[in-house]
Amino acid sequence: MSQFRPTTSPPVTPGVTGGPRRGPLRVLWRHRWPLLFVSPFFVLFAIFALYPIFFSLYLSFHEWRGIGPMRPAGLANYTRLFGDRIFWNSMLNSVILFFIYVPIMTFMAVVIATVLHGKFLKLQGMWRAIIFMPHLTSMVAAGFTFRLILDTHSGFANQAFQWLGLSPVPWLDDVWWARISLGLLMIWAWLGYNTIIMLAGLQTIPTEVNEAAAVDGATRSQVFWRITVPLLKPVILFAVTLSIIGTFQLFTEPYILTGGGPMRATETPVMQIFSSTFANLRFGYAAAMSYVYFVTIVVLAIVQFKLVTRGDR
């Protein structure tokens, strides 16, 4: 977390500014402007985040169909959840999906950023814009378009494979291919975003470092692996952490592209929370699920952070 700089504060002239003259109220009055300026966040946070989180905890110990009286359920929701294969399967799906697309995407982002940063290409802005464009697209629109392209029987992807003499691929109809297809959509949507972050990281590395290495006779791949990647490590760590959180929050992409199928292979925890709430009307169970899901993400993020920073001290 960053440190605060010393800042100015409006001059205080008691008697001129008015307000209470002594006690804690006086302190509040003196700082009324900044307190007023930050208050919208804290008011909205209390109403629309803090209260719901506690309400959700209360809800998770009850059985409730959204209307009518709540029935106390003790730990029943939680004990059921721990034996809920469908839920744990959705958590596992997120982990599998993470390993399918994040390593490749992150590696590609670092390489592309290095190439674009290297100044020896023409039309850098154009390449960057093309790679970034998918990020602007509604994932509903993109999901349907990918579904159309990847349709096993009439999609363009298999048509192109046929022209190339390759055998058709069951893109969305096979457990592992569906996961790969979802990974493709994720790379399509997020590669540009990650590349932009890596580019910003590269801009903080002084060019002298690379030049000195080149003068010393280092090859391009040596410079990349021994200088660029280590210096970029904090930025890569930041991007991977975002990807972990993002993968566990996935909803729209699998909901549209595969509907969670085939055989629940691409179903995510958020889809589970959504369907427990709006399809099955099991609000208490969905609340318990949200809690377990949240705790798992926090634990995973901490473990990842510890693993990656282990060698640093």
Binding site: M1, G66, I197, I245, Y255, I297
Partner: protein
């Protein structure tokens, strides 16, 4: 092989790889566009790239049968209102954190940063109950505007930006007898304009493309936003209206692409802030 030849080879390979990557990135847009001009049978049966019998019937049907204009208007006014309100409140909060010293500031800032780690899915159930039972806000734009109006990311972003606003300028305003709020509106906001633009684009894009939360709270068809309309064109297997879907997808992407081409610089500045430092 001489060094020069090696350089040429590297360049050639790099360009070839970039072109292949660009095809992958652009192809879905191209496919969306060409499919939107194909009649329904041709989308599945037709094995041609370009439409054999190009038609704008898909676009017409979208507006005549599904009242697309209404949905675009819903998306537009919700995104505009939400963005304007959030940018204003985030700038206000960011300014206070950057330029004032007040009791509890560091703790408040820490609480705010910590709040960023709460995934939205955790709030989905209780927030929905609140919107329906307490506020009666189902089928209104309010759930999409109010709860996220002053969000932690935006305040953090604006704080980093406001740190560079000169203190002399603020003091000059104070000496002139301007109120603190007057200084914010007349001095701070104009100097922070590029930062406001960055944040505004990010918020607008997020609202325009938002799906999960609108899906939960916008139940009646006349309140639907564009992504919800697209989702509702989905039918049972084999009956999904891909012809209309592709037309709608093209229309949903166009405003974002326009924003991108004119304001790319601000968008990229917004995304990279916080990734390198902070």
């Amino acid at each position: 092989m001489s060094a020069r030849h090696g350089d040429l080879l590297v360049k050639g390979v790099t360009y070839a790889a970039l072109i292949a990557l660009s095809v992958f990135m652009l192809f879905p847009f191209v496919w969306m566009l060409v499919s939107s001009f194909k009649p329904f049978p041709e989308i599945f049966a037709g094995r041609t790239f370009l439409p054999v019998e190009p038609t704008i019937a898909n676009y017409v049907a979208l507006f005549e049968r599904y009242d697309a204009l209404r949905k675009f208007w819903n998306s537009f006014y919700i995104a505009t209102t939400a963005t304007a309100l959030s940018v204003f409140l985030c700038a206000l909060g960011g300014y206070a954190f950057a330029k004032f010293d007040f009791p509890g500031r560091n703790m408040m800032f820490a609480i705010m940063l910590a709040s960023m780690t709460i995934p939205f899915a955790v709030l989905l159930v209780p927030l929905f109950v609140m919107m329906r039972n307490t506020f009666g806000w189902i089928d209104t734009p309010w759930p999409l505007i109010v709860p996220g109006a002053a969000n932690a990311f935006g305040i953090f972003f604006m704080r980093q930006y406001m740190l560079s606003v000169s203190d002399d300028m603020l003091d000059a305003g104070r000496i002139d007898g301007a109120s603190e709020f007057g200084i914010f509106v007349r001095v701070v906001l104009p100097t922070a304009l590029p930062g406001l633009a960055s944040l505004g684009i990010i918020f607008f894009m997020a609202s325009w493309n938002n799906f999960l939360w609108p899906l939960a709270v916008l139940r009646s068809e006349h309140m639907h936003t564009v992504p919800i309309m697209l989702n509702s064109l989905q039918g049972p297997p084999g009956r999904t209206a891909f012809d209309l879907l592709m037309a709608g997808s093209v229309l949903s992407v166009i405003p974002m692409l326009i924003v991108f081409f004119f304001l790319q610089r601000y968008l990229i500045a917004g995304i990279t802030a916080g990734s390198v430092k902070g």
